[in-house]
Structures are given as C-alpha cells and as structure tokens.
C-alpha cells in the first residue's frame, strides 16, 4: 500500500530556532494535510494542500506542496514553547488517507 515517510522522527530546538518537518511519498498524491497533536491531546487539523507547488502560511507556519505532488514540508519560524507537539502529515491517494509517523517537536525555553 501507499507509504508516507516523515522525517525527522524527533526534533529538539532552542526557543527561537526554526523547525522543519518533511513528508515524502513514492507516489503522486491527490492532496496532503497537516495535523498537530499536543502532548496528551488529539490530532487537530492545520491545513490542506491540493495544488502542485502550493505554498500556504499561517502566522509563523509555512506549508509547501512539491511540484511533483510527492512531497511536502511544514516550516515553523522562531519556535515558541507553544509549538511543542507531534506534527503529522496525512496523504490522500485514490481515496485512502495515510498518516506519516509524525515528527515530535520539543522546544527548550
């Protein structure tokens, strides 16, 4: 079945540093979604990307969808302690949604 590789699995940063997580697929994706799960919480939808090369921003978060629609990234500028959690990509292909393994971000104040 379709696999979505997400790296890195863990990322520790100092507050104020930037953070990026990457999601890669061997197949072309219909769209990709990003979710955030705070410690002890549940995944919360952040954004969906549909178009090739699409870039969307939410305050300090920048989401990109690759030109070939096989990869995506989430970049956080100047991390804050409120950014801690696990970030998941979820890829849709032919009607089935698969979650990446997640990147867990910790931020040292």
């Amino acid at each position: 079945g379709q696999q979505v590789m997400q790296i890195p699995q863990y990322q520790h940063v100092q507050e104020g540093e930037d953070f990026t997580t990457y999601c890669n697929s061997s197949t072309t994706l219909s769209n990709i979604q990003w979710y955030k799960q705070r410690p002890g919480g549940h995944p919360v939808f952040l954004i969906q990307l549909v178009k090739s090369g699409e870039v969307k921003k939410q305050k300090r978060l920048t989401f990109q969808f690759g030109e070939a629609k096989k990869n995506s990234s989430l970049h956080i500028t100047a991390t804050q302690t409120t950014d801690v959690g696990t970030y998941f990509c979820a890829a849709d292909n032919a009607g089935k949604s698969t979650f990446g393994d997640g990147t867990t971000l910790t931020v040292k104040p």
Binding site: T86, G95, T104
Partner: protein
C-alpha cells in the same frame, strides 16, 4: 459543544475481556473513522464508514468489530482483549470520504486510552 466525543476516556481491563468504545459526532459529517495510536505515537487507520457503510477495513484482527447504527455514531467492540491492544484509540469524522482534490479535514475525538493488563 463537543464536535466529536468518545466514551470512555480511560479503560483499564484484563486480558480476555470484551469491551466497547463509543463515538458520536454532531458535525453532520457523513464519514467516521477509528484510528489506533501506539506508544510510539504512530497513527494507523483501522476502519472508515461512510453513511453507515464500511468503506475502509485495514488489516485488523477480527476481534475488532465496528458498528455504525447511524451516521452520527461509530462504535468499536473488541473481543478477547490482548496486551498488544493497549493503545489510544481515536475516533474521527469528516464531511466526505477522501476524494481527489476535495476537502475532507478530519476532526478527532479526545481519544480513549485502553490499558490491558
């Protein structure tokens, strides 16, 4: 108002027992899901229902049986619980099933932490 609710929040039980987890959504969505999240936080889909019809059934032991009495409810019954079933189970819903190019963001419930001893 809670959009997607699950009961119970915590469930501790012994091996061999049978238990159920309930899920309800008040968003008017057509599609509901069950996910299992293990200790490494890997999130794996188990089942998906669209308008009470099963549309996704991953490789899950047949001890797990979902039931959707109506499109607002999706319950999960687990027979003969095993130690490996310990995990957090999330229910989710979306307006539509995954369709090419269509928005179908999923709304997750708070999760049920199942511990099998």
């Amino acid at each position: 108002d809670t959009a997607v609710s699950q009961t119970p929040k915590y469930l501790v039980t012994q091996m061999g027992n049978d238990k159920s987890i309930k899920c309800e959504q008040n968003l008017g969505h057509d599609t509901m899901y069950w996910y299992k999240q293990d200790s490494k936080k890997f999130l794996k889909i188990m089942f998906s229902y669209n308008n009470k019809e099963l549309i996704i059934n991953e490789t899950v032991p047949n001890r797990f049986s979902p039931k959707s009495p109506d499109k607002a409810h999706l319950n999960l019954h687990i027979n003969s619980l095993e130690l490996g079933d310990s995990a957090v189970y999330f229910c989710a819903s979306s307006q539509h099933p995954p369709l090419a190019g269509g928005p179908y963001e999923q709304y997750f419930g708070p999760g049920t932490r199942l511990t099998v001893t």
